[in-house]
């Protein structure tokens, strides 16, 4: 050790400020966390698979969804598979495999459209109420509170009774009522964000309310919105299945997983597969969306950032 080592050099701040962990943006961090969570990824792929199958499924075997063959009804098992009926046949001899995927198209489309609708309406309503606050907020929220006193399902049932069965009416009925809980959440987020300084800065710079709402408040609530939407899809599928099960859902000859389950249930003793198969698909889809929603929520939660 020579005495050169003892000469005074002074500060070396760059050395001290080296940070070993790379710094990530909110979304990059979320993406990393999701990727790491194998379960979430698995179920996400499952959802993709279900959607793809719903689109191409009906073309995969040579049967159509309404082709009847009364001599070959209630078949299930090896014999049926050899004939091309992978999931067997129903009480009219129709191919269950094709009908399941046709049903999937309807169930999934309804769910996705409804959730999109409720997302747009709910976000706008909640964003406006939360941003403006005061009397506007109170009035808007009172209205919502009154309606939310009873489960939205009851309104949906009433609307279905009034409008009659049909895919369009289901979408309208569900969309018209389900935006309210979403509005509540968005309003909550907006109120939290409103207090942040960058919003006050934007206001001081003269930004218009619509600008602030759409450019600052909504993008920053996106995390919560996405999670809620993802969790609402299984609920929408469930609601549609529920409606079909009590008889006011998708009308024949169209099929949804819910109506298939209903029909299958009535024939439980003669052909259990007619109930069990749609039941499995409903459950599987709901499970997948729930798992993905859970994973998304954990990934987007800033408190869990490591």
């Amino acid at each position: 050790m020579n005495n050169n080592e003892f000469l005074i050099i002074g500060k070396d701040l760059k050395e001290g400020e080296k940070i070993s962990k790379p710094s990530l943006t909110y979304w990059q961090d979320a993406y990393r966390r999701i990727k790491e969570n194998k379960v979430t990824v698995f179920f996400f792929l499952a959802i993709i698979a279900l959607i793809v199958m719903s689109i191409i499924g009906p073309y995969l075997n040579r049967f159509s969804y309404r082709e009847q063959n009364l001599d070959f009804a209630f078949q299930f098992g090896r014999e049926a598979i050899e004939k091309g009926h992978y999931f067997g046949t129903d009480d009219f001899g129709r191919d269950v495999f094709t009908r399941i995927w046709e049903g999937g198209r309807i169930s999934l489309s309804i769910a996705l459209v409804v959730v999109l609708l409720e997302g747009i309406i709910g976000t706008l309503y909640g964003g406006i109420a939360g941003y403006f606050g005061g009397k506007i907020d109170t009035v808007m929220m009172r209205i919502v509170e009154i309606f939310l006193a009873i489960p939205t399902l009851i309104y949906i049932i009433l609307l279905m009774v009034v409008m009659g069965p049909g895919v369009l009416t289901i979408i309208i009925a569900m969309g018209a009522t389900r935006w309210m809980p979403m509005a509540l959440i968005v309003r909550g987020e907006v109120i939290k964000l409103k207090e942040q300084e960058y919003v006050m800065a934007a206001i001081n710079l003269g930004a218009s309310p619509m600008w602030i709402i759409t450019k600052h408040l909504i993008p920053n609530s996106m995390g919560q919105i996405i999670v809620k939407l993802t969790m609402d899809i299984p609920d929408a599928i469930f609601t549609e299945a529920f409606l079909s099960f009590i008889g006011i859902g998708v009308p024949a000859p169209l099929a949804s997983w819910g109506s298939l389950a209903n029909d299958g249930y009535k024939l439980l003793v003669r052909g259990a597969h007619l109930f069990i198969i749609p039941a499995i698909f409903i459950s599987l889809t709901t499970l997948s969306f729930n798992m993905v929603g859970d994973g998304l929520r954990d990934a987007l939660d800033p408190k869990l950032r490591k």
Binding site: E145, I146, F147, A149, I150, P151, L153, I154, I157, L158, L159, V161, V162, P234, F238, A241, F242, F245, I246, G247, I248, A261, Y265, L268, V269, A272, F275, I276, A279, I282, S283, T286, L287, N290, M291, D294
Partner: protein, 315 residues
């Protein structure tokens, strides 16, 4: 405190009125009339029926009559399908069965869900946690009526193979009849409560006062129960209201699946039969019930959380 109750009750009545009004106008906007589905009725008789049910009067008049009967006499009218039977009577005879079913489900949900959530929260990240949460996610994902159907199928299958009927798959009347329907109805709620309790436990255990409790030298049981669970259970209590609502709506289908002569099944039936008064009456009844339940839950929460009970000073 009294002011709090008063405010809630007023809101409740207002809400009830709004819902009754909405439902009334919705149902009466249906094209045709409730008798359209029946076999040909001679016009004279039909006219008399219309007169009897006031269906020939202007809508607003009907509405006024309805509200008057509702609020002043709590009279929900007469069924259009089963003539002569008052809706109040129908509710009175059918609701108790639904009530028992619902109550049993809620009790099951609480007894199973809360401990499940606590265990999951305490063993976070470990096997017990993952197991509990998988069960919970399945519980949320499988619709209750499908679950009910599967339970029935299992019993039938067992009967088919062994000729033993372990549980009645439908009907009402004895204790075994309640078992499957209430389990099916409770699954969803068990799952929700378990997840809530778990999240609440995890959040509470990270609080500073838990650290204080450890620094005092208390043993694990005291820390977890007196400091942990006591605080963690609060959010779950607020869920009791929505829980009640979920069980109520769930009962519509469960009663159908298990052929239980309860209010839910009559409701579903009245929809298919276009029996306005029954549909309307049941909606109003349920609304009343749910609102009352919400108020009770709010009250209960206020009593349990000392911060609300005694008012916050020096905040």
């Amino acid at each position: 405190m009294l002011k709090f109750i008063f405010k809630k009750i007023t809101m409740g009545i207002l809400t009830l009125w709004a819902i009754a009004t909405l439902t009334f106008f919705l149902l009466h906007s249906l094209p045709g009339d409730p008798f359209a589905s029946e076999k040909k009725i001679p016009p004279v008789i039909k006219a008399r029926l219309m007169e009897k049910y006031n269906l020939d009067k202007p809508l607003v008049y009907q509405y006024g009559l309805y509200i008057k009967d509702l609020f002043l006499h709590q009279d929900l009218g007469i069924s259009m399908k089963v003539r002569g039977r008052s809706v109040n009577d129908m509710i009175k005879s059918n609701f108790p069965r639904s009530f028992i079913l619902g109550l049993t489900s809620i009790i099951i949900a609480i007894i199973v869900g809360i401990p499940l959530g606590i265990i999951a929260g305490l063993h976070r990240g470990k096997f017990l946690d993952s197991l509990s949460m998988i069960v919970a996610v399945l519980g949320i994902s499988v619709p209750s009526f499908i679950f009910g159907g599967i339970l029935q199928w299992i019993v039938l299958f067992i009967k088919f193979k062994t000729d033993v009927s372990i549980l009645p798959i439908a009907g009402w009347g004895t204790f075994p009849h309640i078992i499957m329907p209430s389990i099916a109805l409770s699954i969803f709620s068990i799952a929700v409560i378990a997840r809530m309790m778990r999240a609440s436990m995890i959040e509470v255990l990270a609080q500073d006062y838990i650290r204080t409790a450890r620094a005092k030298g208390l043993n694990n049981f005291q820390i977890i129960v007196k400091h942990g669970i006591r605080n963690a259970i609060m959010p779950v209590i607020t869920y009791l209201g929505p829980l009640f609502a979920a069980v109520t709506t769930g009962s519509f289908v469960i009663e159908t699946v298990f052929s239980i002569p309860g209010l839910g099944r009559y409701f579903s039936q009245s929809i298919l039969d276009n029996d306005y008064t029954v549909t309307l009456g049941v909606v109003v009844f349920y609304a009343c019930l749910l609102i009352a339940m919400m108020i009770l839950v709010d009250l209960a929460y206020g009593l349990i959380d000392p911060r609300i009970r005694r008012g916050a000073k020096n905040e």
